[in-house]
Amino acid sequence: MSSMFHSRSSFLRRSLQATALVAAVLIFTGAGDESARFNDLGHRLMCACGCRQILLECNHVGCGYSDRMRAELVAAVDRGDNDDLTLQSFVQKYGPTVLAAPTKTGFNRVAWITPYVALLLGLGLVGLIARAWRSRPLLRPADLPAPVHGVELERFREQARRETEV
């Protein structure tokens, strides 16, 4: 019995190790892909022509900005600039509205935090409401039939189960 338990735990451990190894291989397989970085960064920037489109989605014929900006992005990725440096260089050149989403610094942090705070506050509120509801006395109209208990209640439950099978 003990050896069977031992062999089962050993099998589990090896399975976990194998899973971790496969996951690590798969994770690192996709790392360092330059076109993926270009695609990612290009979707974090807006075209500066005023079309309000993501840089890689701007399709304005003869747009005076998108081709130039894409070329600058390709150059930054080829140079190996990190994401922050690349995005900062665009902000310096085209202004803060070139970023497709608020940064996570200063007052802009509020933009990111507020939705989660709202969700947490909402959850808290739902919890409070649920607690208040569970402890509140019922508003029961006087002429409602008396509640059923015991055998009668079981009979009704059985009938409901039979008829609905739910």
Partner: protein
């Protein structure tokens, strides 16, 4: 023309003002003459529809007659504009669209006033509230955004034309659908406020308004997705939703309206969430007005927005008035909204509705927050920031996933409490099915750990499968019971099941449509695109497709000139299609527009855009997008519409719901 139009608008204002004032007086001053006064108010409301319709017809006729003495026609039409778009001129500009708003509101008011015998007093209150909203829009039309304003100086020979982006068949139906949704929420709002003002006993007003709300919600759903399809088919960036402020404006009332459609069941079945429902429908209406304000005030910049104008102040004042009215009546009558039951267990249908509503409202708040944050940022920091798709996707996708989970779990929880055995029985196999599909997708090469978008995509598909399996199991379980009793086959039994309780099973079909749409959204994580200059015989490969440029040419007609390419599509060594991506130059407005061409299959869309000619080589630049699963979105919308129609249909056998002690029992659609 202009004088007839101006007169009809003034007459409509007088009629709706009379409907409001006389109706109000009849309700406040109960006396022998009040019934007759109320009847005259009702008839004035009905007449308002006729007069506003006449005003709208005058504007459309002016467009067809090329009457450029009317400034609106000059700015939004031209002689060579095709007839369907001349008709669409009615809603293509600021003033015309406000007239259209007013027309739809008067049409809704007409139906309501014709059906007044359902409950004379409740309908009289609702009619007065609708008349008040109508007065606001007619005041705007008469004094701030006059659609019949005349041109100054010499008469122009031709107009500026319709915005090229709007010259697409869907634009003839997308705005009316959207407006039917926006405007329609006025009716449930009016009933809710009326019920609050008169301390309406019981939940009958909810039964009356349920159908209105569902119809309105259905229109808004159609409007939103028609807009998405239009963006996909016309704008040429390969996507269907860009989180533009105007798109967000339509999404917000849809989110709260959807929350209302769910939570209203709590009130019907259990007499709970009365205050919440009241405020939910108030908020939905206010968000509809707010959306109209957003698109017209210039507060936020948007590619869809109408010209910046001063009518924003009117909307702010109107919104403040609505809010103050709602607060006033709520404070005075809130004791009427006390819950009749208590929550017995956290694992129950009631609590699932609570969480469902929380998530819908948080999603709505997030969209509102992101839309207005640039304004707030400018106010606080002195500079505007962009809040675009990366923000909205990151914040809203987790909420959407939680909502999907609740879509799977909620409908199968019992009212009051659910046992652990029941949970196991209902969810074990669907959960195993969802996990198996997830494992299969990973085995097939989906790598959720490589990118957050892949992770969200996988989660979306797994949760969608979970919802689909729970919906199917509900149909099969109920169908089997009927089959056993009736001897019919399972499919016929499931049909009968849906017909017996249309609201419940219509709702399931809507949920099924939602998950089909979500699977379509999940495909966006795997979009690919490629851009290339393509001369005669040049090839481009994207995914499994090889594109060969057969030729490129030019064309001309009175409305626009165009350049287009003929692209042969090859797959597996065989030519399977020919696509003609096009770029147009509209003469009247002097604007260009792309007309992408799409080869759509259940697996993926091949989407080609003619980006223009390379000035140096004279050869066209073609951009190809490969967008997986997009067709699922449009199919899902049809399923949602089918589910909504089923939910609106009457049950085969009316189910008698036990009514609260103080009410008379009456036949209503059985709920979930």
């Amino acid at each position: 023309m202009s004088q007839i139009g101006s007169f009809t608008l003034l007459l409509a204002l007088a009629l709706s003002a009379y409907c409001f004032l006389a109706g109000l007086l009849a309700l406040v001053r109960e006396g022998p003459g009040s019934a007759r006064l109320s009847e005259t108010a009702r008839r004035a409301g009905i007449a308002t529809f006729g007069v506003v319709l006449l005003a709208a017809l005058v504007l459309v006729i002016a467009a067809f007659q090329n009457d450029f003495s009317i400034a609106y026609i000059f700015h939004h039409s031209n002689r060579d504009l095709p007839a369907p778009y001349k008709f669409a001129t009615l809603w293509s500009g600021q003033e015309g669209s406000l007239l259209f708003w007013s027309l739809l509101l008067s049409a809704y008011g007409l139906v309501l006033r014709l059906r007044y015998k359902t409950d004379t007093r409740l309908f009289a209150y609702a009619s007065v509230i609708i008349a008040a909203v109508q007065v606001f829009f007619l005041l705007l039309l008469n004094f701030a955004a006059h659609p019949f304003a005349v041109m100054q100086g010499s008469l122009p020979t031709d107009g500026n034309g319709l915005n090229p982006l709007l010259q697409y068949p869907e634009m003839v139906i997308h705005p009316p659908m959207l407006y039917l949704g926006y405007v329609g929420f006025t009716v449930p709002f009016a009933f809710a406020l009326a019920a609050l003002i008169m301390r309406y006993p019981g939940e009958k007003w909810i039964h009356i308004t349920r159908r209105w709300t569902m119809v309105t919600w259905g229109f808004l759903t159609c409007g939103i997705f028609l807009g998405a399809h239009w963006a996909y088919s016309v704008l040429g960036w390969g996507g269907y939703w860009g989180w533009d402020p105007v798109e967000n404006a339509s999404l917000m009332p849809w989110l709260t309206g959807t929350a209302f459609l769910h939570s209203v069941m709590m009130q019907e079945k259990r007499g709970m969430l009365k205050t919440w429902n009241m405020w939910l429908i108030f908020s939905t209406f206010m968000l509809s007005i707010f959306g109209t304000f957003l698109t017209r005030s210039g507060v936020v910049s948007s590619v869809h927005a109408f010209a910046q104008s001063s009518i924003g102040d009117w909307f702010v004042a109107f919104l403040a008035l609505i809010f103050a009215t709602c607060v006033l009546f709520y404070v005075n009558n809130r004791s009427h909204l006390r819950s009749e039951h208590k929550l017995e267990s956290l694992v129950s249908r009631e609590s699932s509705f609570l969480f469902n509503n929380l998530l819908f409202v948080v999603a709505c708040f997030t969209v509102l927050w992101g839309t207005l944050f640039p304004v707030l940022s400018e106010w606080v920091q002195g500079n505007k920031v962009t809040v675009g798709p990366p923000f909205f996707n990151r914040v809203n996708i987790p909420v959407a996933l939680l909502l999907l989970l609740l879509t799977a779990v909620g409908p199968l929880l019992a009212w009051r409490r659910t046992s652990v055995e029941s949970l196991k029985r209902n969810f074990l196999w669907p959960a195993i099915g969802a996990l198996a599909i997830g494992a299969l997708l990973v085995a097939l090469g989906m790598r959720p750990w490589n990118d957050s978008s892949y992770f969200y995509s996988l989660m979306t598909i797994m949760l969608s499968i979970l919802v689909a399996l729970t919906v199917i199991s509900e149909f099969v379980r109920g169908g089997r019971v009927i089959a056993r009793h009736s001897g019919q086959n399972l499919l016929a039994s499931m049909g009968q099941l849906a017909h017996r309780n249309t609201r419940r099973y219509g709702g399931y079909i809507v949920h099924f449509g939602v998950i089909v749409i979500m699977i379509g959204f999940a495909g966006a994580a795997f979009n690919k695109d490629k851009e290339q200059e393509m001369g005669f015989g040049d090839r481009m490969t994207i995914g499994a497709y090889t594109l060969v440029c057969q030729s490129y040419t030019q064309d001309d007609n009175p409305n626009y000139s165009s350049e287009w390419a003929v692209i042969n599509v090859w797959k597996g060594g065989k030519q399977i299609d020919t696509l003609y991506p096009e770029r147009r130059f509209y003469k009247a407005s002097q604007q260009t527009s792309t007309m992408p061409r799409v080869r759509s299959t259940a697996k993926e869309d091949l989407y080609l855009v003619y980006e223009g000619l390379n000035q140096d080589t004279g050869r066209p630049i073609i951009k190809a997008h490969l967008n997986p699963l997009v067709m699922w979105i449009w199919v899902g919308v049809w399923i949602m519409i089918a589910g909504t129609l089923l939910a609106l249909a009457p049950n085969a056998v009316p189910v008698r719901v036990p009514a609260p002690a103080r009410m008379h029992a009456e036949p209503v659609g059985a709920g979930d």
